[in-house]
Amino acid sequence: MDLTFYQIIAPVIAVVAIVYAWSLVGRKKKTMWEGILWTLFWGLVASLAMFPNLMNWVSAVTGIKDRENAVFITFFGVLFFIVFYLVMRLEEMEQRQTRIVRKIALRDSGLDEDEKE
C-alpha cells in the first residue's frame, strides 16, 4: 500500500496531540472527560487519514462528488480556521480586560492580596 505524506503525518500529529492531552490530564490541567473528548477528536482525524475510503461514505452522505465541491469545502475549512483563530484571540483579550477590571476593584477596596505581599 502506497502511503501519502498526509497519511503518515496526520496520525503522528494525532498521537502527539493525544499524548499531550493525557499529560495535561495527568498534571490536572484537563479533566478526564476532556481527555476523552480530545482522544475522540484526534482519533477521528487519524482514522480519516489512514482510511480515506471512509470519505466515500461521507461524500455519499453529503453529496461532495466533484473537484469544484472539494475546493469549496477546502476554502470553507480555511475560513472556519480563521474564524476560530479570531474567536480565540477575542476570548484572550476579553479575559485580559476582565483581569484588569477585577484587579482594580480589589486594589481600590484594599483587598488585593498581591499588593499586600
Binding site: 479533566t31 472527560w33 476532556e34 476523552i36 480586560q97 477590571v101 477585577r102 480589589l106
Partner: protein, 222 residues
C-alpha cells in the same frame, strides 16, 4: 467558622438592600460586588452595611463572583456563600446549605431549586435542563441545578477555585472545577421565588445560546 456572603450585583438598586439585610442574619460579613452598575446599587449596598467592591466596567456575573471570592479570601473566609441580588433565593436556606461544609462532609454545596416544590415557569425549567445537559456533556458530571447562583464553598474549594469565565458560563465552570479538584459535592433543595422582576432580569434565550457556545468553545480550547 467565618462565613462570608458574596453578592454579585448589576443594576439592583431596588433589591440589594433587602437581600443584604436578610443575608446578614446568617453570615459574619457580606460582600457586594457592583459589576459596573449605572444606578444606585453601590450606594445602597454601602448604606446597608456591606463591604463594597466595585468593577469600573460591566464584566459579567462570573467575573463579579470571582472578584467577590478573591475579596472574601483576603478577608479570611472559611466558608463562602454566593447568592443572587434579585431576591429569588431565600436566605433562610443558608444554614442548610453550609451545614455539610461545617460538618466536613462536602467541599462545595449546590442549591437545587428543583429539589422541592417550587413554582418555576416552564421556560426556566427547560432552559435549566438544557444547561444541565450541556454541563454534563462538557464536564462528565451531572448536577441537578448546575445553573443556580446560590452555592457554598468550604476551605478546600476556597483555596483552589479559579474561575476564568466572565459571564453566566461560570456556573458550568464551577462544576468543572468540582471535577478537576475532586471536591466533595452535595446538593440541597432550596426555595426559589420567581417574580416578574426576576424573570425580566434573568437570561434571555439568545443569551442562553451565547452562553452554551462559550461553554463548548472553552471546553475545547483548554
Amino acid at each position: 467558622m467565618k462565613t462570608i456572603a458574596v453578592i454579585p450585583a448589576y443594576n439592583e438598586e431596588s433589591r440589594v438592600e433587602v437581600v443584604i439585610n436578610d443575608v446578614s442574619q446568617y453570615v459574619s460579613e457580606v460582600i457586594v460586588v457592583d459589576d459596573g452598575s449605572s444606578d444606585a446599587t453601590a450606594l445602597n449596598a454601602e448604606k446597608a452595611g456591606a463591604k463594597l467592591v466595585q468593577h469600573v466596567e460591566n464584566c459579567g456575573a462570573g467575573a463579579a463572583t470571582m472578584t467577590g471570592i478573591d475579596a472574601a479570601r483576603a478577608m479570611g473566609a472559611e466558608i463562602i456563600v454566593t447568592i443572587d441580588a434579585d431576591e429569588q433565593h431565600n436566605p433562610k436556606d443558608i444554614p442548610a446549605l453550609i451545614t455539610p461544609l461545617k460538618e466536613g462532609r462536602a467541599d462545595v454545596v449546590f442549591a437545587n431549586r428543583f429539589g422541592q416544590k417550587n413554582r418555576i415557569p416552564f421556560v426556566r425549567r427547560f432552559a435549566n435542563g438544557c444547561g444541565n445537559i450541556l454541563t454534563f456533556f462538557t464536564t462528565g458530571k451531572w448536577v441537578s441545578d448546575s445553573q443556580c447562583g446560590f452555592k457554598a464553598f468550604g476551605p478546600k474549594a476556597i483555596e483552589e477555585i479559579d474561575l476564568k469565565m466572565s459571564g453566566f458560563e461560570f456556573c458550568s465552570e464551577i462544576v468543572r472545577e468540582t471535577v478537576q479538584h475532586r471536591w466533595r459535592m452535595q446538593q440541597i433543595p432550596t426555595k426559589v421565588l420567581y417574580s416578574e422582576y426576576t424573570l425580566a432580569k434573568g437570561q434571555s434565550f439568545a443569551n442562553g445560546i451565547k452562553t452554551a457556545l462559550k461553554v463548548l468553545l472553552r471546553s475545547f480550547l483548554r
